[in-house]
Amino acid sequence: MGTFILKRLLSAIPTLLIASLLVFSFIHLIPGDPASVMLGDMADTAEIEALRVQMGLDRPIWEQYLTWLGKALQGDLGESIYFQEPVTRVIAEGAETSILLALFTMVLIVLIGIPAGILSAAFHGGKTDQVVSGTAMLFASIPTFWLGLYLIFTVAVGFGWLPTSGFPSVLESGDLSNLKYLILPAITLSAPNSALVVRLVRAGMLDTMRDDYVRTARAKGLLEHKVILRHVFRNALIGVVATLGFTFVGLVSEAVVTETVFALPGIGRLVVQSILRRDYPVIQGIILVVVVFYILVNLIVDIVTTHLDPRVKMA
């Protein structure tokens, strides 16, 4: 197990290098630079150029990349041009919101998506299946920005039960009641994702149900719910676990629309804003962190899969 994890982590190094190189070259290929964003509409070319020099943006790209890489290897991701703060701190600010929101959403997805998927598969073709599948299709089709605004309008403004937007830090204040700020965003994000899980669980289970060992289980007189849960569901779960892993990473890094609607200080919004501001160090830093995160989640998914299915060997 130890060797497996070590091997996987070592093999991640080239992936990280290639990803960072690609990101670095792509963002420097986009026209526009942070100096002109910062100095605004009235600034003349000479001042913009002077600031570019001061920020080191006039040096050759490969030189800038090597400097950045050298520092990144020592854990220093540089300083945000926009916020004039260490990139690690800027990312950490966003990470709290994004990770808590993703966890909250995952709980909802698992609690709603998996039971609904099982029900739908167990009664496939019947009324329950039609209702569950229909509802899932409906939620998969609702745009998140609309659902978000609708929830704000009804639950937060109409009833005044929950705050409309923002998210004060929980880690800093220690105030768990701040989690209420994440309820509506989590519902918004979980709607389309739960629908996806419902479809996956259902499809996976229906596939498995045709397998011989399920017929055998039924033939030897096992109770139907045992067949469904112990034999069918467990085997269908393998595909679902992989999807859940990547959904989690996506929720952390790509929930731009939901974060924008609820004015949440998350990673998704940060990366989009940083691209618009040409805040190169933050973009590079986030991409690096997200790639590492992907690799780790992938590893965890593999470990979980081997536990679920002993036939998958850790190589």
């Binding site: 986009i30 026209p31 526009g32 630079d33 002109s36 964003v37 910062m38 100095l39 605004g40 509409d41 009235m42 600034a43 003349d44 070319t45 001042e47 913009i48 002077a50 600031l51 001061q54 920020m55 945000s80 926009y82 916020f83 004039q84 703060e85 701190r89 800027v90 600010e93 966003g94 920005f145 605004l149 704000i152 309008f153 937060a156 403004v157 005044g160 705050p163 409309t164 937007s165 923002g166 004060p168 830090s169 924008t260 609607v261 609820f262 004015a263 200080p265 998350g266 919004r269 940060l270 804003q273 618009l276 501001r277 040409r278």
Partner: protein
């Protein structure tokens, strides 16, 4: 009776404790006014950017030598009095002696000189003034002498305009600083609020400056005596307009800026919010390239384009209800002291495609592509631009519409050979000399001999009537040579909760939160 029983005593003690808690709670309650803004400002160094978001935050903590009053005049603010020599070449400013910086130091003449020097050397607007200045010197502890190269009419207006303007910092922070924006905590000024903290993507917080020394006059626009009536100001980036509105309706925010026109009527009828219109308009501007491309020295072709346009259609689509726009071509709105009708005969009320086609032909146009750069980053530009482009196409112009995000457009417009027209918006400015299209270095590069001659006369006089007459001529010239085309004025509006007191009926230019209390 209650007091005599055991229960009675308990109740009495409990109510006493509750009362005490309420009183002490009130004494320690920190009143925070929360302002929802559209995005985070690029930085807080107001000398180095004309970004509105920087101005909105900065207005509450940084101050200038002069400030604009309600009537739009630049009046002494950090300056106690001034004297201009008879030849108009030397201004002696006597500073107020009671002004304290947020770090506790008293403002001196040297602080002022170093602040102005940095702004003059690196600030976009500062250069306009410093090009006309021989020297700025501290000639006493509280005396600054400005020597001009020639008579320069708009000097006070330039010193009073906080947007991209000369905020006064302590010497030790501002002396010899380059164009790199100051770090947020370096924004030490003399205003009623001081910098607290900037949490990326969360908020910018300013706190009340307890030792603030207000101007002794009554509050008057951005001038006069200010007072912080809340303990903290928080500026929170809430990018979605629907969320800004809901946030104020639900009481999560006290104030929200830039609400869209489609919600105006509904919000005017909503008792949970109040709308507040900006008194000064924002104007979309189409810049023609005077330094390269098809419009270079071809004023007739620009006039042909203008003849094809029906500005009211573009304005209605971009701004919504008629209260919020005015398709008029003067560079200042009616009622402003700089309003003039010079050249307005040429402003197209109703586009005439046939006439435009004929004018284009006479100007030598043979269907060459016209590169029009537009951005999706700002809805007013995008919406008006799209309508105007369609009107140009209807009159037979071969428009090559190029759509970019804002930083890309800014980058490309700096090159004289990459474009023919680009659209931007321009905020209200207190003096015509601050219009970007009059700036020789601003993309568009309007530098015709006629313009240069008129402009030199305009800035070279301090006589109010003469300046007005020359501005009228300049506006008329702008309709003849068309360095820019202005389809009209857009009036933005903000909203706030009914519990805010002290806001004016209509904003002068930007909201300021001194003198505003929460009930």
């Amino acid at each position: 009776m209650i007091g005599t029983t055991r229960w009675g005593r308990a109740v009495r003690n409990l109510s006493a404790a509750t009362a005490l808690a309420v009183i002490s709670g009130a004494a320690f309650a920190q009143e925070t006014l929360k302002v929802a803004i559209t995005d985070e400002p690029p930085h807080l160094d107001t000398q180095m950017t004309t970004a509105t978001l920087t101005t909105i935050v900065n207005l509450n903590m940084m101050e200038t030598l002069y400030a604009f009053n309600e009537a739009g005049e630049a009046v002494p603010f950090l300056v106690a009095s001034d004297e201009l020599s008879e030849d108009g070449l030397t201004a002696v400013l006597t500073l107020r002696d009671d002004v304290k910086f947020h770090n506790g130091d008293t403002m001196s003449a040297q602080d002022v000189v170093d602040s102005l020097d940095r702004w003059g050397a690196h600030g976009g607007r500062g250069k306009l003034l410093y090009d006309m200045i021989e020297s700025v010197e501290a000639t006493g502890d509280a005396e600054v002498t400005i020597t001009f190269k020639g008579v320069f009419g708009p000097w006070k207006n330039l010193l009073a305009f906080v947007n991209g303007g000369p905020a006064i910092y302590p010497s030790e922070i501002i002396k010899d600083r380059g164009p790199e924006p100051l770090a947020p905590e370096e924004n030490i000024g003399t205003g009623p609020f001081k910098f607290g903290e900037w949490r990326p993507n969360r908020y910018i917080e300013l706190t009340k400056f307890e030792e603030y020394a207000p101007h002794d006059g009554p509050a008057d626009g951005y001038a006069g005596g200010h007072e912080a009536l809340v303990d903290k100001l928080q500026f929170i980036a809430v990018p979605d307009v629907g969320t800004r509105v809901s946030g104020v309706q639900a009481g999560d925010y006290d104030y929200a800026e830039r609400i869209t026109g489609d919600l105006y009527a509904e919000l005017n009828d909503d008792p949970s919010v109040e709308t507040i219109r900006h008194g000064a308009p924002t104007m979309p501007l189409l810049f023609f390239n005077s330094a390269g491309g098809i419009f270079k020295e071809n004023f007739a072709l620009r006039r042909a384009i203008m003849a094809a346009l029906t500005p009211s259609e573009a304005m209605a689509i971009a701004a919504g209800p008629e209260d919020l726009w005015d398709a008029q071509g003067a560079f200042y709105p009616k009622g402003n002291r700089w309003y003039t009708e010079g050249g307005l005969d040429s402003f197209p009320q109703q586009g005439d495609p046939d006439k435009a086609r004929q004018m284009a032909e006479e100007a030598g146009y043979k269907g060459e592509p016209i590169r029009f750069m537009l951005t999706t980053s700002y809805p007013i530009m995008y919406d008006t631009g799209n309508v105007l482009v369609q009107q140009m196409k209807d009159a037979g112009f071969n428009i090559d519409l190029q759509i970019y995000d804002w930083p890309t457009l800014v980058n490309r417009r700096a090159e004289t050979d990459l474009w023919d027209i680009f659209e931007t918006t321009h905020g209200a400015v207190p003096d015509p000399s601050l219009f970007t299209f009059l700036n020789d270095n601003y993309p568009g590069w309007w530098t015709s001999p006629e313009k240069k001659e008129l402009e030199a006369k305009f800035v070279g006089t301090t006589d109010a009537d003469e300046r007005m007459a020359l501005w009228t001529d300049l506006q008329a010239l702008a309709y003849e040579q068309v360095p820019v085309f202005k389809p009209g004025d857009v009036y933005l509006y903000d909203i706030h909760g009914p519990n805010l007191e002290g806001l004016p009926e209509q904003l002068l230019i930007w909201p300021a939160f001194y003198g505003v209390a929460k009930n």
